[in-house]
Symmetry: C2
Subunit: 521 residues, 2 copies
């Protein structure tokens, strides 16, 4: 045992010294010596079923579970996990995440994990004393952006980007197509920001940040605030001179007190989602990137629009408008230099929108139209100039009427021939995963009744399997439903603990990254 | 959709009214209507591998993960989960649990979940600010005993027994063989208590409570406090008259500041585990029950002993002493009535001990001897009078030398012919699960290198599979390793998120309960 213990100490010393990835090769070689095992018992039926899935590291946040874990799909073991309350976060809603590419995820990878917080824990009917105990006040405000590094053994919290930059954004986090940074956003604050990717021991910087504000045509009737059109103002944000930070940590800057859960935009215009400025809400809760790595789309839920920004100039270019019957590409005009402010005019907003994404080949963009419409707008985005991107069709289903069932998240097959779409029904009903032919934009297969609240999907990068996570908003049955990507046959379920809003297979390079949390939400 | 929503509301109303199990039948019948799904996609290889395991609900606490979840083994889905920070517990170390029998666990079951807290979060080398932020002070003291009810849909926290009774015990929880209550214990406080089982909407009461205190022969040398023998005092505890409670919530009553992790008893006698009263420590951290439902064994780690209490009279009977070379059955003598106090004299304590249990047929008791000895004492407990229970042999292995590898947890096959023992190696090395023939008490099979920190096992009640949970103390790879109970062949792994200290298959009746967290730890 002395040998084992001294080896362990050696590993710990190596890790303590480690500032980069060079050390991991050494750690793995020690770990693979017989003293540390490596023998496997996966010869049985369950082991064989796992081995057939291939060696993928499947990373999923737990939402109200408060942490994130990753599964080694090829063995069925949990590779590692992190629980944010361990670090003194008293209300850690592990919300969305994205992983940077790593040549061998089993040896190490880095991911970005946003957390909600504050009153979002109160919206699921839990009989909890967390608010009356004052636990939400100081270290429970959430909107943290955790950088976590899996070092081949454990997940380690290496930075809270919200604390470093003052930019507290609790919703989607999406890696740039070159893997050199990420975008974050928050639909309660209407703020998005673009962050660089520093070394493991360095601190993150904000490259650029914007806020969206809505100026309605009808300023009297809350229920017509968006429906009757208005002006979207995009404002460039700067850090406070004195602190060098954005002063948007925690709940600071919230226009509404908690998130609009899917298909809950109507709570805003019916006056049932209070806050500082519901009438100014755009619902800017995400950014997705065109695979060309120049343009990013700022996703605006209230007008169902996607504002395209050029990341080489940090100037907005145009605005895609998704509803059926609305113009597809709206111009944007600069109206002020102090601060930089641009405006987009909307004649009307026929519906709200939500999740969105580009196909990994860059030829299409799609976004969900919800509530008043219930379809997916499809754009042709093959032109080099986003101002020429055109709305070409809508994915529809005779069942998509009323609020539910409603198309929700999307991803694409590795060859681009299929789009996979989760279709949400309200809990405790089970949700679905459907398959769309990207030549005809018709639904060709449905897996219904998978589990409550199907959220994002991931495709194994060998193009063999689709992983559909389902979660429960937030405390029903959960897991991963797996089906074959090409033959569209069910494979089975894997357990997955928590109320999952997202999932990612850790990509090994920027090519795989394009089918990960980069081009789609 | 209107139909679904009204059905959902109906379910919620039903649940709101529910005080007992009668309503669940109704809920399930609604849930099984086509509108709520029920269709399954488990035809694939993974689905078939799960189906072969059978319909068992596998319940596991996450330790530093902060919650508990259960897996539907037959489908591979996570059935439900709970995360205690959601309820305002700022340091919830979900430690041990036990489930009451339920005729159909899929429709509902109740379980008891102890939590550690306070400084225990600090002992795993996490670079955390949880202490400096003051988060451990008020709602992070832990030692909660949560009663949780799974209602067929979600896990619901129905009572914090520590708050109700003032009895805050954070370690093993073990159901009585008749399913009518449970025992809890805490090795930092040296306190154990026996609780009744009230109705779902009623509050728990303490039936009886005891504290163990050590009075060493050698009062000068800390390192000889136990080795040179001494007197074990057992004291009957009563609630404070004014409050009606035991005033032992949170860290109140701790003799040592954090737990003795496995094989860490030497930290106490070498002065490296501080606290109010390390010299008075007995390490009373568990109770297990003889299946006859009359006698329970109070497990004392420091002297490696098990004090037998008659639960019909609440009087102690005798004390089993486990080390090789020590007398096997020590007398106990009442020395005071105010409060009731009994004493057991130990000539010496040749080693410390830890996990223990009775065979479900009641014929044997076994307990691990650790550190100075490294074996399992086996007692013949077939006599109706515990004073006649005899130490008959030791389970040994040529590899069990020094501190590690060390036998840790145990359970028995359904037919009693085999005992399964987890064998701990220090992280990050992988631990093992070995199989002992209960006729010869010889090891007949070893599964080595399963994963870090193999903890408890569960046996499917059809006698087909052994589930060996492995956890990582506390943040390495985790999962469940499954092998066949009779043919002892590997089946494979299931992911399981968190640092698991325990696991239970929810029993369906008191017969199955005997192979659950009742007779063994």
């Amino acid at each position: 045992m002395a040998t084992q213990i001294s080896r362990r100490n050696a590993i710990q010393s190596l890790l303590a010294m480690a500032g980069g990835a060079a050390v991991y090769e050494g750690v793995r070689s020690v770990m693979n010596t017989p003293a540390f095992g490596g023998q496997s018992f996966n010869a049985g039926t369950l082991g064989q079923a796992h081995a057939a899935l291939g060696n993928w590291v499947y990373l999923t946040p737990q939402k109200l579970g408060g942490g994130t874990h990753c599964c080694d799909m090829g063995t069925g073991k949990t590779l590692a996990w992190i629980s944010y309350w361990n670090y003194g976060d008293t209300c850690p809603i592990s919300h969305h995440l994205a992983a940077y590419p790593s040549p061998d995820p089993y040896k190490g990878f880095e991911f970005i994990n946003s957390t909600q917080g504050g009153k979002n824990v109160m919206i699921y009917g839990l009989p909890t004393r967390i608010q009356s105990r004052g636990i939400l006040d100081r270290y429970g405000q959430g909107n943290n952006i955790y950088r976590v590094y899996f070092d081949g053994q454990s997940m380690n919290l290496i930075e809270n980007v919200a604390e470093t930059t003052g930019m507290g954004l609790g919703v989607h986090t999406v890696i740039f197509p070159d893997g050199k940074g990420f975008a974050g956003a928050d639909g309660q604050k209407d703020v998005c920001a673009f962050f660089d990717r520093p070394g493991l021991t360095e601190k993150t910087k904000v490259q650029m940040a914007f806020r969206g504000d809505w100026v309605p045509n009808n300023k009297n009737d809350l229920d017509k605030t968006w429906m009757e059109g208005g002006t979207l103002r995009l404002v460039r944000l700067s850090p406070a001179t004195e602190t060098g930070k954005f002063e948007l940590e925690g709940t600071r800057g919230n226009k509404i007190d908690w998130e609009m859960v899917p298909m809950a935009e109507h709570l805003v215009w019916t006056g049932r989602l209070p806050g500082e400025d519901p009438r100014g809400l755009t619902g800017l809760d995400a950014v997705v990137h065109h695979p060309g790595n120049r343009y990013s789309a700022l996703i605006l839920r209230m007008p169902s629009a996607a504002l395209i920004v050029d990341r080489t100039t940090w100037e907005p270019v145009c605005c895609l408008h998704n509803p059926e019957g609305s113009p597809g590409n709206l111009p944007i005009k600069k109206v002020s230099n102090s601060p930089d402010t641009w405006e987009v005019r909307f004649e009307d907003c026929k519906c709200v929108g939500h999740e969105a994404g580009f196909s990994p080949d860059g030829k299409n963009f799609t976004m969900m139209n919800n509530i008043q419409q219930n379809n997916m707008a499809v754009f042709d985005t093959s032109d080099a100039d986003p101002r020429k991107w055109k709305k070409i069709t809508w994915v529809k289903d005779p069942k998509w009427v009323g609020d539910y069932p409603s198309p929700f998240h999307l991803c694409f097959s590795m060859d681009g021939s299929k789009m996979f779409v989760s279709v949400l029904s309200p809990k405790p009903a089970n949700s679905a995963s459907v398959v769309v032919d990207t030549k005809t934009w018709q639904i060709i297969k449905k897996f219904e009744n998978i589990g409550p609240d199907c959220q994002t999907m991931a495709v194994t990068y060998d193009g063999k399997y689709v992983l559909q996570i389902f979660s429960g908003f937030q405390r029903l049955s959960t897991g991963v439903f797996i089906y074959t990507q090409d033959t569209l046959e069910p494979v089975g379920y894997l357990p997955n603990f928590g109320g999952h809003h997202d999932c990612v297979i850790v990509p090994r390079d920027t090519r795989e990254l394009l089918n990960s949390r980069c081009t789609t939400l």
